[in-house]
Amino acid sequence: MPYCSHCGVEVDPKATSCPLCRAPIQALARDPGGMPEYAQVDYKEEHVQLPAEYRRRFALYLLSLVFFTPLLVVLIIDLVQNGALDWSLYAAAALLTAWAYAVIPLLLLGRVVAIVFFYVTVSAGFLWVVDNLHGSPWWFYSVGLPILVVLAVVCSVVVAASLKVKRKGANVGAFVLAGIVVFCVGVDVVITMNLSGAGVPAFGWSAIVAGALLPPAGFLLYVQYGIARRIDLRRRFHV
């Protein structure tokens, strides 16, 4: 049985390093005699790695405590001050949404499509609640929901495109700028159709945004696929 020359313990015949001190195992045929009574080094204590499930559950408890404590506080303050729940319902809706944003990735663990779906659903739910809290609802279905859908689609496309390209660099910046342009155009169209009373799609301020952002986006694509293909920018500009 081989021995660790540092710890003096026996290890498995197949072991290449000591399971205790990680020192490489040398092929010693016998017990290494003449070892000092105590080790001659101090070891730094390794922290115990808790199971992932435990850490996840703990994070859930902690996040719940962080969000539900102020939620309870604002509800109580509102109730004591006004005798009924009034403004605190908005704060409560915002805190609950923030809590959901925080815990959804922990509950769904890497299932990206499901996470995006629930993020959009929670966001839509928050907008619906805010629209319905006081008086008659009027803007959720006409403005809030369409803008949210545009935002979700644009974000998903930008992220998917950025992940799909093999060489990542300036092109990711270009995707983001293009995404902002598409989102602004979408918002502009939704607003002009529903709020200005025009009833038909029209472009206003979003054309200015597009004019400002599309040239730099094009330049970034040119840098990525034009210049960078010929010149190693990392070599030139490394720090």
């Binding site: 710890c7 003096g8 313990v9 498995d12 205790l20 009574e37 105590y38 101090d42 204590e45 435990y54």
Partner: protein
């Protein structure tokens, strides 16, 4: 049977346990110097096989779930919560009982270490006392034997890893035996302490002397006492010689002797259940000859060690825990208060301590594989030098742990033994092999 609060429960994170009475003092006192870690080790006849030890350890931890815990802060008190991590065998360092992370989430309050032929367990006193630690080590040793050699036919007094757990093992026996109307013992003042500066954090000097049991027993019997009386007397005498050499102390030399209360009160608790009695030499009265010291120790221990007197010690320990004002003080404030009282007042009352675990017995098959046991006291920056004794086979191992560079006390101890006709074989962790 008196009622006592539930000592355990089940929470969303698994089982949890209240700290016992002694642990409530140790937990707030935890620091890089007050590690509260004491150590029991067994030296085998051949090198340890690490993988087999790890397997044996995993078997043992299932039998001792109350040690599979980490320390968590509650609002009023600390508590133990089931630790979901796996306890791994660690390499044994040069300085034992140091460099802990005991308050960290997921950190166990015991460590299993091995080096060459030695298997060591280091327990925080918040978790258990020497009795519980020794039972755990014996179970671990026998489980290791089974992993490496084969089935043990009779485990005798050793707890089998697959045996049924007794519900009383998690009991806080302090609370059960506490009598509210009993008087508390008379409080004592501060004791003399070694004046030397402390070593840097992380260093702990260990000196172990191996002496033949027969010679010590004969010396004790010659004076009409027990091995414990004899070694305590030698220790008091050595401290007296050190005190005289270092000046003329105005405070008494007082040695604390921990007592296993299970010998006096029926308890199967595997958590703390001990108290301390003290032996005192007032050097203002002049020099004490060894025979005088021995008689003083002999009568003092017999006077102290009886059920009624020990109830007064229980009263002193438990009354603070049961104090309604102290109970409702938030832990964050209580921490500072308890740590101060423990470090300055309680530790300040004794010059040093000597803890004797007695003679260890093992199943016949395992006994032949063991060379000796070692017992190391927890480091104390106040008393600086402490002593622990354990016997196995025909040898007794006397171990000194000190947080100072000066080895005066153990030098006088082993010199006194030599003058009394007992020669010790000494080894250290600081180059004195």
């Amino acid at each position: 049977m008196k009622t006592q609060p539930s000592v355990s429960g089940t929470s969303v994170s698994g089982n949890w346990y209240r700290l016992d009475n002694a642990a409530k003092a140790f937990a707030p006192a935890l620091s890089h110097r007050y590690t509260t870690l004491f150590r029991l080790a067994v030296v085998l006849n051949r090198p340890v096989r690490v993988q087999a030890l790890q397997q044996a350890l995993e078997r043992c931890m299932q039998r001792f779930p109350y040690y599979q815990v980490h320390l968590r802060p509650g609002f009023f008190w600390y508590y133990f919560e089931e630790n979901p991590g796996v306890l791994r065998v660690m390499p044994d360092p040069q300085n034992p009982c140091m460099r802990h992370t005991l308050r960290r989430r997921g950190s166990f309050l015991l460590r299993v270490r091995c080096y060459h032929r030695r298997i060591a367990v280091e327990f925080s006193h918040a978790l258990t006392d020497g009795f519980g630690a020794l039972h755990f080590l014996n179970t671990l040793l026998c489980a290791y034997y089974e992993e490496t050699h084969g089935i043990i036919s009779d485990w005798e007094n050793v707890i089998h890893p697959e045996s049924e757990q007794d519900s009383q093992e998690t009991e806080d026996s302090f609370l059960r035996e506490y009598v509210p109307h009993a008087p508390a013992p008379t409080s004592v003042g501060g004791a003399w302490h070694l004046p030397h500066p402390l070593l840097p954090v992380g260093l702990y000097r260990v000196s172990s002397g191996v002496v033949p049991t027969d010679a010590v027993r004969a010396a004790a019997k010659e004076r009409g006492g027990s091995i414990n009386d004899f070694l305590t007397a030698v220790y008091c005498y050595a401290l007296q010689l050190a005190a005289e050499r270092l000046g003329n102390p105005k405070r008494p030399v007082r040695v604390f002797v921990p007592v296993n209360l299970r010998a006096f009160f029926p308890s199967r608790s595997m958590r703390n259940f001990f108290s301390v009695v003290s032996v005192e030499l007032d050097l203002r009265l002049g020099h004490f000859e060894f025979e005088e010291v021995f008689r003083l120790v002999f009568y003092r221990l017999r006077l102290e060690l009886n059920k009624k007197n020990l109830r007064t010690h229980l009263k002193r320990n438990v009354r603070n825990e049961r104090n309604p004002v102290l109970r409702v003080v938030p832990r964050a404030i209580k921490d500072r208060l308890v740590a101060f009282v423990y470090r300055r007042v309680a530790e300040g009352m004794n010059t040093a301590s000597i803890s004797n675990l007695g003679r260890v017995s093992l199943p016949a098959e395992v006994a032949g594989e063991v060379e000796r046991y070692e017992f190391l006291p927890p480091p104390s920056p106040m008393t600086k030098v402490n002593c622990a004794v354990i016997g196995y086979g025909d040898e007794i191992v006397i171990t000194f742990g000190r947080m100072i560079d000066n080895s005066l006390v153990e030098m006088y101890f082993f010199r006194t033994l030599r003058e009394l006709g007992i020669t010790a074989r000494v080894h250290t962790n600081w180059g004195g092999d």
